[in-house]
Amino acid sequence: MLKEFIKGLWKDNPVLRQLLGMCPTLAVTTTALNGMAMGLATTFVVVSAGIVVSLSRKLIPKQVRIPVFTVIIATFVTVVDMVLKAYFPQLSSALGPYVPLIVVNCLILGRQEAFTSKNPIHLAISDTFGMGLGFTFILIVLGSVRELIGAGTWFGTVIFPTGPAGFKPLVIMVLPAGAFITLGLIAALYNLINLKVKGEV
Protein backbone atom coordinates (compact mmCIF):
# COMPACT_ATOMS: atom_id res chain seq x y z
CA MET A 1 0.00 0.00 0.00
CA LEU A 2 2.83 2.36 0.88
CA LYS A 3 4.49 1.43 -2.40
CA GLU A 4 1.46 2.67 -4.38
CA PHE A 5 1.59 5.93 -2.46
CA ILE A 6 5.32 6.59 -2.84
CA LYS A 7 5.53 5.89 -6.57
CA GLY A 8 3.41 8.92 -7.47
CA LEU A 9 5.68 11.26 -5.55
CA TRP A 10 8.85 10.57 -7.51
CA LYS A 11 9.31 7.41 -9.57
CA ASP A 12 6.07 7.69 -11.57
CA ASN A 13 5.53 11.39 -10.99
CA PRO A 14 2.48 12.26 -13.07
CA VAL A 15 3.91 15.45 -14.52
CA LEU A 16 7.60 14.72 -15.02
CA ARG A 17 7.39 11.03 -15.78
CA GLN A 18 4.02 10.55 -17.43
CA LEU A 19 3.46 14.06 -18.86
CA LEU A 20 -0.11 14.05 -17.58
CA GLY A 21 -2.16 17.00 -16.43
CA MET A 22 -0.15 19.52 -18.37
CA CYS A 23 -2.74 22.24 -19.00
CA PRO A 24 -3.30 23.22 -15.37
CA THR A 25 0.38 22.61 -14.62
CA LEU A 26 1.43 25.24 -17.09
CA ALA A 27 -1.54 27.58 -16.99
CA VAL A 28 -2.08 28.41 -13.32
CA THR A 29 1.47 28.28 -12.05
CA THR A 30 2.16 31.98 -12.42
CA THR A 31 2.38 32.07 -8.62
CA ALA A 32 3.25 29.47 -6.01
CA LEU A 33 -0.06 29.95 -4.20
CA ASN A 34 -2.13 29.33 -7.32
CA GLY A 35 -0.08 26.23 -8.01
CA MET A 36 -0.69 24.90 -4.53
CA ALA A 37 -4.43 25.61 -4.64
CA MET A 38 -4.78 23.94 -8.02
CA GLY A 39 -2.75 20.97 -6.82
CA LEU A 40 -4.85 20.45 -3.71
CA ALA A 41 -8.13 20.85 -5.61
CA THR A 42 -6.93 18.26 -8.13
CA THR A 43 -5.86 15.92 -5.33
CA PHE A 44 -9.32 16.13 -3.80
CA VAL A 45 -10.98 15.33 -7.12
CA VAL A 46 -8.65 12.46 -8.06
CA VAL A 47 -9.00 10.80 -4.63
CA SER A 48 -12.82 11.20 -4.45
CA ALA A 49 -13.28 9.97 -8.00
CA GLY A 50 -10.86 7.12 -7.27
CA ILE A 51 -12.94 5.99 -4.31
CA VAL A 52 -16.21 6.03 -6.27
CA VAL A 53 -14.72 4.31 -9.32
CA SER A 54 -13.01 1.64 -7.24
CA LEU A 55 -16.23 0.88 -5.33
CA SER A 56 -18.34 0.65 -8.46
CA ARG A 57 -15.72 -0.96 -10.70
CA LYS A 58 -17.68 -4.20 -11.09
CA LEU A 59 -20.91 -2.43 -12.10
CA ILE A 60 -19.59 -0.38 -15.00
CA PRO A 61 -19.65 -2.02 -18.45
CA LYS A 62 -16.33 -1.63 -20.23
CA GLN A 63 -17.80 0.15 -23.26
CA VAL A 64 -19.19 3.11 -21.33
CA ARG A 65 -16.45 3.41 -18.73
CA ILE A 66 -14.93 6.59 -20.18
CA PRO A 67 -18.19 8.59 -20.18
CA VAL A 68 -19.06 7.24 -16.71
CA PHE A 69 -15.64 8.17 -15.31
CA THR A 70 -15.82 11.65 -16.80
CA VAL A 71 -19.29 12.24 -15.37
CA ILE A 72 -18.05 11.19 -11.92
CA ILE A 73 -15.03 13.47 -12.26
CA ALA A 74 -17.11 16.39 -13.57
CA THR A 75 -19.44 16.01 -10.60
CA PHE A 76 -16.64 16.35 -8.08
CA VAL A 77 -15.11 19.26 -9.96
CA THR A 78 -18.41 21.12 -9.87
CA VAL A 79 -18.54 20.48 -6.12
CA VAL A 80 -15.02 21.91 -5.71
CA ASP A 81 -16.00 24.91 -7.82
CA MET A 82 -19.06 25.69 -5.72
CA VAL A 83 -17.31 25.10 -2.39
CA LEU A 84 -14.43 27.39 -3.42
CA LYS A 85 -16.91 30.07 -4.49
CA ALA A 86 -18.80 29.77 -1.21
CA TYR A 87 -15.97 29.47 1.30
CA PHE A 88 -12.78 30.69 -0.42
CA PRO A 89 -13.98 33.42 -2.80
CA GLN A 90 -10.51 34.95 -3.21
CA LEU A 91 -8.92 31.69 -4.26
CA SER A 92 -11.85 30.97 -6.53
CA SER A 93 -11.38 34.21 -8.42
CA ALA A 94 -7.61 33.64 -8.69
CA LEU A 95 -7.99 30.20 -10.23
CA GLY A 96 -10.90 31.49 -12.28
CA PRO A 97 -11.67 29.61 -15.44
CA TYR A 98 -9.10 26.89 -14.74
CA VAL A 99 -11.15 25.14 -12.06
CA PRO A 100 -13.54 23.57 -14.62
CA LEU A 101 -10.52 22.38 -16.57
CA ILE A 102 -9.71 19.97 -13.75
CA VAL A 103 -12.40 17.86 -15.44
CA VAL A 104 -10.14 17.28 -18.41
CA ASN A 105 -6.95 16.85 -16.44
CA CYS A 106 -5.70 13.66 -18.08
CA LEU A 107 -4.04 12.72 -14.82
CA ILE A 108 -7.41 12.12 -13.19
CA LEU A 109 -8.99 10.09 -15.98
CA GLY A 110 -5.68 8.32 -16.57
CA ARG A 111 -5.55 7.05 -12.98
CA GLN A 112 -9.13 5.76 -13.11
CA GLU A 113 -8.44 3.96 -16.37
CA ALA A 114 -5.07 2.53 -15.38
CA PHE A 115 -5.47 1.85 -11.69
CA THR A 116 -8.59 2.48 -9.62
CA SER A 117 -10.95 0.64 -11.97
CA LYS A 118 -8.88 -2.51 -11.45
CA ASN A 119 -7.95 -2.30 -7.77
CA PRO A 120 -9.66 -2.44 -4.36
CA ILE A 121 -10.41 0.74 -2.49
CA HIS A 122 -7.44 0.96 -0.11
CA LEU A 123 -4.95 0.67 -2.97
CA ALA A 124 -7.01 3.12 -5.03
CA ILE A 125 -6.84 5.71 -2.25
CA SER A 126 -3.08 5.41 -1.71
CA ASP A 127 -2.36 5.48 -5.44
CA THR A 128 -4.49 8.54 -6.20
CA PHE A 129 -3.38 10.37 -3.07
CA GLY A 130 0.28 9.84 -3.98
CA MET A 131 -0.33 10.98 -7.56
CA GLY A 132 -2.22 14.04 -6.31
CA LEU A 133 0.57 15.04 -3.95
CA GLY A 134 3.25 14.40 -6.58
CA PHE A 135 1.28 16.67 -8.89
CA THR A 136 0.89 19.36 -6.21
CA PHE A 137 4.62 19.23 -5.46
CA ILE A 138 5.59 19.97 -9.08
CA LEU A 139 2.98 22.73 -9.32
CA ILE A 140 4.42 24.43 -6.24
CA VAL A 141 8.00 24.13 -7.56
CA LEU A 142 7.06 25.48 -10.97
CA GLY A 143 4.91 28.25 -9.46
CA SER A 144 7.72 29.26 -7.09
CA VAL A 145 10.32 29.53 -9.86
CA ARG A 146 8.00 31.52 -12.11
CA GLU A 147 6.82 33.80 -9.32
CA LEU A 148 10.36 34.47 -8.03
CA ILE A 149 11.81 35.36 -11.41
CA GLY A 150 8.65 36.77 -12.97
CA ALA A 151 7.56 39.00 -10.10
CA GLY A 152 10.25 38.86 -7.39
CA THR A 153 7.86 37.45 -4.80
CA TRP A 154 7.20 34.05 -3.20
CA PHE A 155 3.71 33.15 -1.93
CA GLY A 156 3.02 36.87 -2.25
CA THR A 157 5.92 37.95 0.01
CA VAL A 158 8.48 40.24 -1.59
CA ILE A 159 11.84 38.45 -1.88
CA PHE A 160 13.57 40.64 -4.44
CA PRO A 161 12.38 44.25 -4.02
CA THR A 162 11.65 45.79 -7.41
CA GLY A 163 12.43 49.38 -8.16
CA PRO A 164 14.55 51.60 -10.39
CA ALA A 165 17.79 50.20 -8.92
CA GLY A 166 16.38 46.88 -7.75
CA PHE A 167 15.30 43.62 -9.27
CA LYS A 168 13.84 43.70 -12.78
CA PRO A 169 11.20 40.97 -13.11
CA LEU A 170 11.49 38.88 -16.25
CA VAL A 171 7.98 39.13 -17.69
CA ILE A 172 8.59 36.19 -20.02
CA MET A 173 8.43 33.88 -16.98
CA VAL A 174 4.74 34.52 -16.41
CA LEU A 175 3.98 34.20 -20.13
CA PRO A 176 3.31 30.83 -21.80
CA ALA A 177 6.80 30.56 -23.29
CA GLY A 178 8.39 30.87 -19.85
CA ALA A 179 6.13 28.15 -18.49
CA PHE A 180 7.18 25.64 -21.14
CA ILE A 181 10.88 26.39 -20.83
CA THR A 182 10.90 26.33 -17.02
CA LEU A 183 9.08 23.00 -16.92
CA GLY A 184 11.49 21.66 -19.54
CA LEU A 185 14.42 22.60 -17.33
CA ILE A 186 12.79 21.07 -14.25
CA ALA A 187 12.19 17.85 -16.22
CA ALA A 188 15.86 17.85 -17.25
CA LEU A 189 16.88 18.25 -13.61
CA TYR A 190 14.61 15.32 -12.72
CA ASN A 191 16.33 13.19 -15.38
CA LEU A 192 19.75 14.29 -14.13
CA ILE A 193 18.97 13.28 -10.54
CA ASN A 194 17.57 9.92 -11.64
CA LEU A 195 20.60 9.18 -13.80
CA LYS A 196 22.98 10.29 -11.04
CA VAL A 197 21.32 7.89 -8.62
CA LYS A 198 21.72 5.06 -11.12
CA GLY A 199 25.32 6.16 -11.61
CA GLU A 200 24.97 6.65 -15.34
CA VAL A 201 26.19 10.23 -15.53
Binding site: I60, V64, V71, V79, M82, K85, P97, L175
Partner: protein, 171 residues
Protein backbone atom coordinates in the same frame (compact mmCIF):
# COMPACT_ATOMS: atom_id res chain seq x y z
CA UNK B 1 -25.87 -7.63 -27.53
CA UNK B 2 -29.22 -6.08 -26.79
CA UNK B 3 -28.89 -6.79 -23.09
CA UNK B 4 -25.52 -5.11 -23.05
CA UNK B 5 -26.87 -2.00 -24.77
CA UNK B 6 -29.64 -1.77 -22.19
CA UNK B 7 -27.18 -2.22 -19.35
CA UNK B 8 -24.92 0.45 -20.80
CA UNK B 9 -27.77 2.91 -21.10
CA UNK B 10 -28.99 2.09 -17.60
CA UNK B 11 -25.57 2.62 -16.03
CA UNK B 12 -24.93 5.83 -17.92
CA UNK B 13 -28.43 7.14 -17.18
CA UNK B 14 -28.19 6.10 -13.54
CA UNK B 15 -24.83 7.78 -13.04
CA UNK B 16 -26.09 10.97 -14.68
CA UNK B 17 -29.22 11.08 -12.52
CA UNK B 18 -27.27 10.49 -9.31
CA UNK B 19 -24.74 13.13 -10.30
CA UNK B 20 -27.44 15.68 -11.17
CA UNK B 21 -29.25 15.05 -7.90
CA UNK B 22 -26.07 15.36 -5.86
CA UNK B 23 -25.04 18.57 -7.63
CA UNK B 24 -28.50 20.05 -7.21
CA UNK B 25 -28.18 19.42 -3.48
CA UNK B 26 -24.72 21.01 -3.20
CA UNK B 27 -25.89 23.93 -5.32
CA UNK B 28 -28.80 24.76 -3.02
CA UNK B 29 -26.58 24.21 0.02
CA UNK B 30 -23.93 26.67 -1.14
CA UNK B 31 -26.18 29.10 -3.04
CA UNK B 32 -26.90 31.43 -0.12
CA UNK B 33 -23.25 31.72 0.83
CA UNK B 34 -22.18 32.40 -2.74
CA UNK B 35 -24.81 35.15 -3.03
CA UNK B 36 -23.75 36.53 0.34
CA UNK B 37 -20.12 36.62 -0.81
CA UNK B 38 -21.16 38.48 -3.93
CA UNK B 39 -23.12 41.07 -1.98
CA UNK B 40 -20.25 41.44 0.46
CA UNK B 41 -17.82 42.06 -2.36
CA UNK B 42 -20.10 44.66 -3.93
CA UNK B 43 -20.38 46.39 -0.56
CA UNK B 44 -16.61 46.33 0.01
CA UNK B 45 -16.02 47.65 -3.49
CA UNK B 46 -18.39 50.58 -2.89
CA UNK B 47 -16.56 51.58 0.30
CA UNK B 48 -13.25 51.16 -1.51
CA UNK B 49 -14.09 53.59 -4.29
CA UNK B 50 -15.99 56.00 -2.01
CA UNK B 51 -13.90 55.68 1.17
CA UNK B 52 -15.43 58.56 3.13
CA UNK B 53 -19.13 57.75 2.97
CA UNK B 54 -21.14 56.49 5.97
CA UNK B 55 -23.76 54.57 4.06
CA UNK B 56 -25.13 54.15 0.56
CA UNK B 57 -28.36 53.51 -1.28
CA UNK B 58 -29.11 51.90 -4.58
CA UNK B 59 -30.62 54.50 -6.86
CA UNK B 60 -30.81 52.65 -10.15
CA UNK B 61 -30.58 49.16 -11.60
CA UNK B 62 -29.08 47.91 -14.89
CA UNK B 63 -26.49 49.22 -14.46
CA UNK B 64 -26.54 49.22 -10.66
CA UNK B 65 -25.72 52.72 -9.41
CA UNK B 66 -25.25 53.48 -5.73
CA UNK B 67 -25.23 56.94 -4.14
CA UNK B 68 -23.08 57.46 -1.11
CA UNK B 69 -24.61 59.29 1.84
CA UNK B 70 -22.78 61.18 4.59
CA UNK B 71 -19.19 62.15 4.16
CA UNK B 72 -20.15 65.59 2.83
CA UNK B 73 -17.98 66.89 0.03
CA UNK B 74 -16.28 63.55 -0.53
CA UNK B 75 -19.52 61.72 -1.33
CA UNK B 76 -20.42 60.50 -4.80
CA UNK B 77 -21.72 57.71 -6.98
CA UNK B 78 -20.53 54.13 -7.40
CA UNK B 79 -21.40 52.32 -10.62
CA UNK B 80 -21.23 48.57 -11.08
CA UNK B 81 -20.03 48.42 -14.66
CA UNK B 82 -18.84 45.65 -16.93
CA UNK B 83 -17.49 45.01 -20.39
CA UNK B 84 -15.45 42.68 -22.51
CA UNK B 85 -11.75 42.44 -21.68
CA UNK B 86 -9.05 40.45 -23.42
CA UNK B 87 -10.08 37.02 -22.16
CA UNK B 88 -13.59 37.55 -20.90
CA UNK B 89 -15.94 39.82 -19.01
CA UNK B 90 -14.46 42.40 -16.60
CA UNK B 91 -16.76 43.60 -13.80
CA UNK B 92 -15.74 46.59 -11.76
CA UNK B 93 -16.95 49.33 -9.43
CA UNK B 94 -16.33 52.86 -10.66
CA UNK B 95 -16.46 55.71 -8.16
CA UNK B 96 -17.36 59.22 -9.37
CA UNK B 97 -17.64 62.37 -7.25
CA UNK B 98 -20.94 64.16 -6.70
CA UNK B 99 -20.34 66.82 -9.37
CA UNK B 100 -19.37 64.07 -11.85
CA UNK B 101 -16.18 65.89 -12.83
CA UNK B 102 -13.65 63.65 -11.11
CA UNK B 103 -13.16 59.91 -10.66
CA UNK B 104 -12.85 58.71 -7.06
CA UNK B 105 -11.29 55.34 -7.84
CA UNK B 106 -11.99 51.92 -9.30
CA UNK B 107 -12.07 48.40 -7.96
CA UNK B 108 -12.10 45.25 -10.09
CA UNK B 109 -14.62 42.66 -8.90
CA UNK B 110 -14.23 40.00 -11.53
CA UNK B 111 -11.81 39.48 -14.37
CA UNK B 112 -10.10 36.58 -16.08
CA UNK B 113 -7.29 38.57 -17.69
CA UNK B 114 -3.87 37.03 -18.30
CA UNK B 115 -2.04 36.49 -15.01
CA UNK B 116 1.02 38.72 -14.78
CA UNK B 117 -0.11 41.03 -17.58
CA UNK B 118 -3.77 41.92 -18.00
CA UNK B 119 -4.60 41.09 -14.41
CA UNK B 120 -2.41 44.00 -13.32
CA UNK B 121 -5.61 46.05 -13.75
CA UNK B 122 -6.42 44.77 -10.25
CA UNK B 123 -3.11 46.08 -8.88
CA UNK B 124 -2.65 49.30 -6.96
CA UNK B 125 -0.02 50.65 -9.41
CA UNK B 126 -2.62 50.71 -12.16
CA UNK B 127 -5.61 51.69 -10.06
CA UNK B 128 -4.03 54.66 -8.26
CA UNK B 129 -4.03 56.77 -11.44
CA UNK B 130 -7.82 57.00 -11.22
CA UNK B 131 -7.94 58.59 -7.78
CA UNK B 132 -9.05 62.16 -8.49
CA UNK B 133 -8.61 61.88 -12.26
CA UNK B 134 -10.50 64.79 -13.89
CA UNK B 135 -13.35 63.91 -16.25
CA UNK B 136 -13.07 66.12 -19.33
CA UNK B 137 -16.25 67.38 -20.95
CA UNK B 138 -15.47 66.03 -24.42
CA UNK B 139 -12.98 63.21 -24.03
CA UNK B 140 -13.98 61.88 -20.64
CA UNK B 141 -10.87 60.16 -19.31
CA UNK B 142 -7.62 58.78 -20.66
CA UNK B 143 -6.04 55.66 -19.18
CA UNK B 144 -2.28 55.12 -18.87
CA UNK B 145 -2.01 51.65 -20.35
CA UNK B 146 -0.11 48.75 -18.80
CA UNK B 147 2.89 47.70 -20.90
CA UNK B 148 2.04 44.51 -22.75
CA UNK B 149 -1.63 44.65 -21.84
CA UNK B 150 -3.05 47.34 -24.10
CA UNK B 151 -6.30 45.48 -24.75
CA UNK B 152 -7.10 45.01 -21.06
CA UNK B 153 -6.25 48.68 -20.37
CA UNK B 154 -8.44 49.87 -23.27
CA UNK B 155 -11.25 47.68 -21.98
CA UNK B 156 -11.00 49.36 -18.57
CA UNK B 157 -11.11 52.79 -20.24
CA UNK B 158 -14.22 51.84 -22.19
CA UNK B 159 -15.97 50.48 -19.10
CA UNK B 160 -15.23 53.68 -17.14
CA UNK B 161 -16.42 55.92 -20.01
CA UNK B 162 -19.68 54.00 -20.14
CA UNK B 163 -20.07 54.21 -16.35
CA UNK B 164 -19.58 58.00 -16.49
CA UNK B 165 -22.24 58.29 -19.18
CA UNK B 166 -24.64 56.23 -17.07
CA UNK B 167 -24.11 58.46 -14.04
CA UNK B 168 -24.51 61.63 -16.08
CA UNK B 169 -27.86 60.37 -17.34
CA UNK B 170 -29.34 60.27 -13.84
CA UNK B 171 -27.24 63.07 -12.32
Amino acid sequence: MKNLTIKMLLVLGGVSVISAGFLGYVYTATYDRIELNREKRVKEAIYKVLPEIDDYEKISAEPDIFKGTGGGVKSGYAVLAGGMGFQGEITMMVGVNEEVNRLMGISVLESVETPGLGDKIKGIDFRKQFRGMPILRQKGIKVNAITGATISSDAVEKIIQKAIKDVKRIH
